[in-house]
């Protein structure tokens, strides 16, 4: 139902048939040249990542910039950054579904995909940062001959459970949502291999009423299951810091502040991807200005929560009367990493304020710029939290400085390459917009036309 005065969520003039044609044709026809170039570039980055990881396995974490007192560096920064990005997908899919926000339909599929890929990238870092990744399975409780279990009192173990649960539920949610579309692709595909593959993946979907009934139940249940995860995952991630007794980490504000930051970062990444995709694949009819505007509003709201978090951190440093807290904040403001902190304020607090202006929210290019700022800003936020607290702790004699080495950067940039490569493969092989859900919206937004027979 389009509220009066609001732009529509699907451009006028579409029928269910045209929706199906346009979206499925992206998958079923040859990819444009730029796709090959972009995929090639990101694949090259994946190769760089593999090279850097091989080097890491051979040489150990000594190739990173880590050294006492900074024992947590890029690995944990990247982990938190990616996990944060991975939040938007579930939020859009599950919470907005439960709230019956229909505008989510055209962005939920690739937001979910983005979530999965971001979680995959995030999952990489805890595995490699343990130093001996081949023993990473020790994180799991399993009956071993050593008769010992993981330390269940450690938030790092909670992380393992939180992240694996989140990854599993997100995958199921995404896959279940894909099943009807996979069936559409199966029916439209011309090559035998594509038919078999899509047919296999669509698990015999025929679109019968029973199927639809089961589907709706399963999807709703999964949405209900996924909703608390949006809050829980980043809460647990924030415990990694909040449980530690280090000034700048040991704060009760961390869970809500991290969750807001995660949604903030997630929506920024969705915009970062949606704006170019809608232009390149000519999907402006489906991802409309209305979607971008809504996402801009969510970003503004969560950005304000994050800004509130920053203010409270400073306030608590003064209000607590704790010497070390106070020093930590002063060190952020005046210390050697002050430029990172100022840049973070610029990116995360000042830049989103532009979203108050409607012109900015409705101009994709400007929105894209703001989102890029937020992407950078959120990475810097994790950098500031991790590094400034560690590099000058209670013992001034052991203060030190931290900077990533080329291998740190290679792994970070490589993980972005992995993310993009997976995304390009997703675009190539799966419908990036939910076809059947779009079809359900079309009749509501358009003058009713005779329905095409469902395939």
């Amino acid at each position: 139902m389009t509220a009066p005065g609001k732009p529509p969520i699907v451009a006028p003039g579409h029928t269910p048939g045209s929706v199906t044609d346009q979206i499925s044709s992206i998958v079923l026809t040859r990819m444009p040249r730029w796709w090959w170039a972009a995929f090639g570039a990101s694949f090259a980055l994946v190769m760089m990542l593999l090279y850097a990881l091989t080097k890491l396995v051979f040489e150990g974490t000594g190739i990173w910039g880590l050294n006492i007192p900074v024992g947590w560096g890029f690995a944990i920064i990247n982990f938190v950054w990616w996990i944060g990005i991975g939040h938007a997908g579930t939020l859009i899919s599950a919470i907005l579904l439960l709230l019956r926000q229909e505008w989510r339909t055209s962005i939920n599929r690739f937001a979910e995909a983005m979530t999965l890929f971001a979680v995959a990238c995030a999952g990489l870092f805890p595995l490699i940062h343990v130093g001996r990744p081949w023993l990473a399975y020790w994180l799991l409780p399993y009956p071993n001959t050593m008769d010992i279990w993981p330390q269940f009192r450690s938030p790092l173990v909670w992380d393992v459970f939180a992240v694996t649960t989140y990854a599993t539920v997100s995958l199921l949610f995404w896959y279940v949502g894909l099943v009807p579309d996979l069936a559409t692709l199966r029916d439209r595909a011309r090559q035998r291999l594509a038919k078999i593959t899509y047919g296999f993946l669509s698990m015999g979907w025929r679109g019968s009423a029973t199927h639809w009934h089961n589907y709706e139940t399963a999807y709703l249940l999964l949405a209900g299951l996924a909703t608390p995860l949006v809050v829980s995952v980043h809460t647990v991630v924030s415990f990694d810091f909040a449980v530690g007794q280090l000034p700048g980490w040991h704060a009760t504000i961390f869970p809500p502040y991290f969750v807001a930051g995660a949604i903030f970062a997630g929506f920024a990444m969705v915009i970062t991807l949606a704006v170019p995709l809608r232009t390149l694949f000519d999907l402006k009819d489906f991802i409309t200005i209305r979607h971008l505007q809504n996402m801009g509003k969510v970003m503004l709201a969560t950005g304000l929560i994050v800004a509130y978090g920053y203010v409270i951190e400073i306030f608590m440093a003064w209000y607590s009367g704790n010497w070390f807290e106070e020093f930590m904040i002063l060190n952020r403001i005046q210390g050697p990493y002050r430029m990172q902190w100022y840049a973070l304020l610029l990116c995360n607090v000042l830049a989103p304020q532009l979203l108050w202006i409607k012109r900015v929210r409705s101009t994709p290019a400007l929105l894209f710029v703001v989102a890029m700022f937020v992407n950078v800003g959120m990475w810097l936020e994790r950098f500031v939290i991790v590094v400034t607290s560690l590099h000058r702790d209670f013992l001034p004699s052991s203060w030190g400085m931290y900077a990533g080495t080329r291998w740190d950067w290679a792994i970070f940039v490589g993980s972005i390459g992995l993310f993009l490569a997976l995304l390009f493969l997703f675009i190539r092989f799966l419908p990036m917009i939910s076809i059947f859900e779009m079809r359900t919206i079309v009749p509501k937004t358009q003058a009713r036309e005779p329905d095409e027979v469902s395939p």
Binding site: T54, V57, W134
Partner: protein, 640 residues
């Protein structure tokens, strides 16, 4: 019989050409505009500099063997990834268990045995207790019964175990880079060495009575022979200072346990130099303020660079090295040394009040104070310190003078210079360099390397193939002290014995063993030499018991040098102060002070990873060597 060659030019393992001045001028001729170069070699564009530019590590550094081929890389990578996942499934390989055929007495497998031994640095011994596991020395600690140790060690001793197992040690006797046997060396040397041979021995500082005895035997059998001693970290100023003060060479040691007030004149006596371990123990015993000494001691430190001693000082005064003599003269005048003249203008930088306070404190503690001059302080400062100690009645109480520790005390730089003169004049037939590296550490202006080529036969004994061995006909691997029979004096003269914990790993020889080749009796074992020397000194009766006891203890009991009743002449000291007063107390320019590295010493420990890794005191430098400049000097004048 094998013939050995002794050409003037030893074929070098590395190309080391001279800088070609002509080609440099040629390059500069065509140069226009500003050009920069990092060294004269670069300017001359020599081949070896180009090579150096493209090498990651310096020439003597050892790189990992070979490059890894792509195929091998992939093999290793896939294998390690595959094995990585299978760690839980690995099966222990079968291991052997090898008991003794005849178990040595008192050895308990799994339990270490401890042996007293000693290590020398700069010729002076420190007493050690070495831990041995089934015949392999693993750890070194101080010998609690040894007067120079009392159970503690310095870092050089701690790290010495690593040097023993250093795979880069030289492992074979070579003649012109060809592997030879010890018997071949002995045969060759004895055939060529006649009584009239102009033989020259070059060693580091020797305090060992047995080595001195065999060296003396060589000298007496070869009337043309000379013995020179040179250490880059030399204590010749100490010797010269003692000569100035007493007219004869005496050694000085301190009893800090009895000193209430200590004034250190550029002396880092707590961490460097002979006896530092004992001094630190004695000095710090007075900081714990026991019941019978309710008062703590007090340390005034004057120093030209930051040292560990300065950090424990109650009062520390930074001073330029060139002002130290003036300070010492002013202190002498202030404590009331008769006729001492305080130089005018010595009161620079507000040190006057500091000096007067120290002098008052010294005067209030007559007989229980000590003025300590550093090993690298000028001879005048040592002479004045002796005079002040004499004036304050400290001698015999906190400051003890004995006969010299060294077998041949003297001006080592002058001794080396006279050797270089002889070599340049072609008056040296055979030069034997024992456990020293003069090509590396001789003063540059002596141009040791050039004149070395004019010696007919060059023989080198060393732990490593180094810069000197590269220019020698014969190189003989030295035995590490944990492989050697030897002796040496500790800082108080105590005869400390070195006994081997393991057979020489690479058939290394000791200084005494190489010297014995030049004697009439010919090559003898280090054990035989040492034992027969002490048998001669200690006498036949009851020798076996005394010898076993000495080996067990690590030193010969009650062998510390007795105090000699010398007193410093006051007139000489007054003259010295007058001389100092005549010089400019605030010289222009920059003072340059050379100090041994706190961990690498004179460079001999450069291949010891533990010492390279060990942060240097105060600067925390590792794997590096830096010129230390005061932050004030570093800041340009305009921005101060």
């Amino acid at each position: 019989m094998t013939k050995f060659d002794h050409p003037a030019e030893v074929p070098s393992t590395s190309r080391r050409s001279r800088i070609d001045l002509a080609s440099m001028r040629e390059h500069l001729q065509d140069a226009r505009g500003p050009r920069f170069w990092r060294s004269l070699d670069e300017l001359a564009e020599t081949e070896e500099f180009q090579e150096l530019l493209h090498r990651e590590f310096p020439e003597m550094g050892v790189e990992l063997p070979g490059g890894v081929s792509r195929r091998r890389f992939v093999q290793l990578m896939s294998a390690s990834l595959a094995l990585g996942g299978l760690t839980a499934c690995t099966r222990q390989p079968l291991e052997k268990i090898v008991p003794y055929a005849q178990q040595p007495e008192s050895l308990v497998p799994g339990r270490p045995l401890y042996f007293a031994t000693s290590m020398t640095l700069g010729g002076v011994a420190s007493g050690l207790l070495a831990e041995s596991h089934m015949g392999r020395p693993t750890k070194v600690e101080g010998n609690p019964e040894h007067p120079a140790s009392l159970g503690a060690t310095d870092l050089f001793a701690q790290a010495s175990v690593l040097s023993l197992y250093d795979p880069d040690r030289s492992q074979v006797i070579t003649n012109l880079n060809r592997i030879r046997s010890w018997s071949a060396f002995v045969e060759d040397t004895r055939r060529e060495t006649l009584a009239s041979t102009r033989l020259r021995l070059l060693t580091g500082t020797v305090t060992s009575p047995s080595v001195a005895a065999i060296a003396q035997q060589v000298l007496s059998e070869h009337p043309q022979a000379r013995w020179h001693q040179y250490d880059a970290v030399t204590r010749e100023n100490v010797v010269a200072g003692a000569e100035m003060a007493f007219g004869e060479v005496v050694a000085t040691r301190y009893d800090f346990a009895r000193a209430d007030v200590v004034v250190a004149l550029d002396a880092d006596f707590l961490t460097t130099g002979p006896g530092a371990v004992r001094y630190a123990r004695d000095f710090m015993s007075r900081r714990r303020a026991p019941v019978d000494h309710p008062e703590m001691n007090r340390l005034y430190a004057v120093e030209s660079m930051p040292t560990a001693t300065g950090t424990v000082a109650d009062h520390r005064l930074p001073l330029r090295p060139s002002q130290l003599a003036g300070f010492a003269a002013a202190l002498a005048a202030e404590v009331g040394l008769p006729d001492a003249v305080a130089p005018a203008g010595a009161d620079v930088g507000g040190q006057g009040e500091w000096l007067r306070a120290a002098a008052r404190d010294l005067q209030a503690h007559r007989g229980s104070s000590a003025v300590v001059a550093g090993d690298y302080a000028p001879a005048e400062v040592h002479a004045l310190a002796h005079a002040i100690n004499g004036h304050l009645e400290n001698i015999g109480r906190t400051v003890i003078h004995t006969a010299p520790l060294e077998a041949m005390p003297g001006d080592q730089t002058a001794s080396l210079a006279s050797l270089v003169d002889d070599m340049a004049a072609g008056e040296v037939d055979i030069l034997v360099m024992l456990q020293c590296n003069p090509v590396y550490d001789a003063p540059v202006d002596l141009d040791f390397t050039t004149v070395l080529r004019q010696v007919g036969r060059r023989i080198h004994l060393g732990l490593y193939r180094n810069e000197t061995s590269e220019h020698c006909h014969w190189h003989i691997p030295a035995a590490h002290y944990l492989e050697s029979w030897d002796d040496a004096r500790a800082h108080d003269g105590t005869i400390s014995l070195t006994q081997p914990l393991i057979e020489p790993l690479y058939d290394g020889k000791t200084v005494a063993e190489v010297l014995s080749v030049f004697t009439e009796e010919g090559s003898r074992s280090a054990h035989g030499l040492l034992r027969s020397y002490w048998q001669g000194v200690l006498g036949e009766s009851g020798f076996e018991t005394r010898w076993r006891k000495a080996l067990h203890d690590g030193f010969i009991a009650d062998s510390a040098l007795p105090p000699t009743g010398v007193t410093p002449g006051t007139e000489a000291a007054a003259e010295t102060t007058a001389l100092i007063a005549g010089t400019d107390q605030i010289p222009d320019g920059v003072d340059l002070a050379f100090r041994p590295d706190p961990t690498i010493y004179d460079g001999r420990f450069s291949n010891n990873g533990w010492l390279q890794e060990c942060p240097k005191p105060l600067t925390k430098l590792t794997w590096d060597n830096a010129a230390l400049v005061s932050p004030v000097s570093r800041t340009p004048r305009w921005s101060r």
